[in-house]
């Protein structure tokens, strides 16, 4: 035991050369490194309410509810596993994984996000189709592809089928 003692005391003196390695956190900020997946943040102007993120989320914490003419996209981030799948599938690049990791809170409801987007109803039968932003996105895509007739975007599927049966000229123009 005593041979061990002398060598350990020498080691202790060597360790003193390392100085102090302690970070000054939390008295000073210490940002996360690059590509760190922290709390998801949603750009409210870009979200179209499509629900792709809700389909891929592993703990199923993103819920879409349609009520009162609004679609509510709600994130209960208490059980988020920070996998980043919602960011990967979002067609509008609205969801990003921010570098925020200081998310401790006494009430876990404090990190929830709730987005309400207006719903689009069919002009013939009044059924809910999708959000208005999704319809706008489809219109923009059609315009960019060269189609000028985008007035039937606000018809639900059954009404669009009925329209197609009753106006063969419209079908001929599109399929030419």
């Amino acid at each position: 035991m005593f041979k061990h003692t002398i060598s350990e005391l020498k080691e202790a003196l060597v360790c003193l050369q390392a100085g102090q390695v302690t970070l000054a956190y939390p008295l000073q900020p210490h940002p996360a490194e690059e590509n760190f997946r922290g709390k998801p943040v949603v750009d409210f102007e870009r979200c179209i309410g499509c629900g792709a993120c809700a389909k891929v989320c592993p703990p199923r914490l993103i819920q879409l509810t349609d009520a009162d003419g609004y679609r509510e996209v709600s994130y209960t981030l208490g059980r988020c596993t920070y996998c980043g799948s919602c960011r990967d599938v979002c067609p509008a690049q609205a969801v990003q994984m921010s570098p925020l990791f200081e998310t401790a809170t006494p009430q876990i409801e404090d990190i929830n996000i709730s987005i309400r987007l207006k719903l689009l109803t069919c002009r013939e039968c009044g059924e809910t189709i999708a959000t208005q932003r999704m319809a706008k996105r489809v219109e923009n895509a059609l315009h960019e592809a060269g189609y000028s007739h985008t007035e039937n975007v606000n018809l639900c599927l059954s009404c669009k089928r009925k329209l197609g049966l009753n106006s063969p000229a419209w079908i001929q123009e599109v399929t030419r």
């Binding site: 956190y25 703990p59 209960t76 208490g78 059980r79 200081e102 401790a104 709730s114 309400r116």
Partner: protein, 151 residues
């Protein structure tokens, strides 16, 4: 004066007991990381103790599985007053991926009264230090619920 003195003593000296309630050990490894010289929580008076009788705070990880639920309640009762319960990790705060499983209770908040939640999968050691510092009143809370209504 007495209670102000004791409040000061509680803010400066917290002894934590780490209770694993069915966790995958990711959060437990991050808690071990917090006890290294890099983050040095002893300067805030925080110390790991190995029995709940000596503890002031319980650091609970894991969604509370059915088998561990009764033992976790006994650990909570064995800790003398006043005490804190700190839920570390996404499994403890909301049940994680097992939020609706038959085998878990869906998070510590369904079993014990939680004082502070620290989400993360696993939370960075800085996030755990931030959470405990918030429980001691050293740093303010940074998150709040966000709502957006399109008009």
């Amino acid at each position: 004066m007495n209670s102000r003195l004791f409040n000061w003593c509680f803010k400066k000296s917290i002894w934590v007991y780490h209770a694993n309630a069915g966790a995958c050990n990711g959060c437990d490894i991050e808690i071990l990381d917090v006890l290294t010289p890099y983050y040095d929580v002893e300067r805030f008076g925080i110390r790991i103790v190995h029995t709940p009788r000596h503890a002031d705070a319980l650091l609970v990880t894991g969604p509370v599985t059915r088998q561990v639920r009764e033992r976790l309640l006994r650990l909570y009762e064995a800790t003398p007053e006043p005490k804190l319960v700190i839920a570390v990790g996404s499994c403890a705060t909301g049940g994680g991926i097992w939020y609706d499983s038959y085998a878990t209770c869906g998070g510590v908040k369904n079993v014990l009264p939680v004082d502070i939640h620290i989400p993360g999968c696993p939370p960075k050691p800085e996030a755990i230090v931030y959470g405990v510092a918030q429980a001691l009143g050293m740093v303010p809370k940074q998150v709040q619920a966000q709502t957006y209504i399109e008009e």
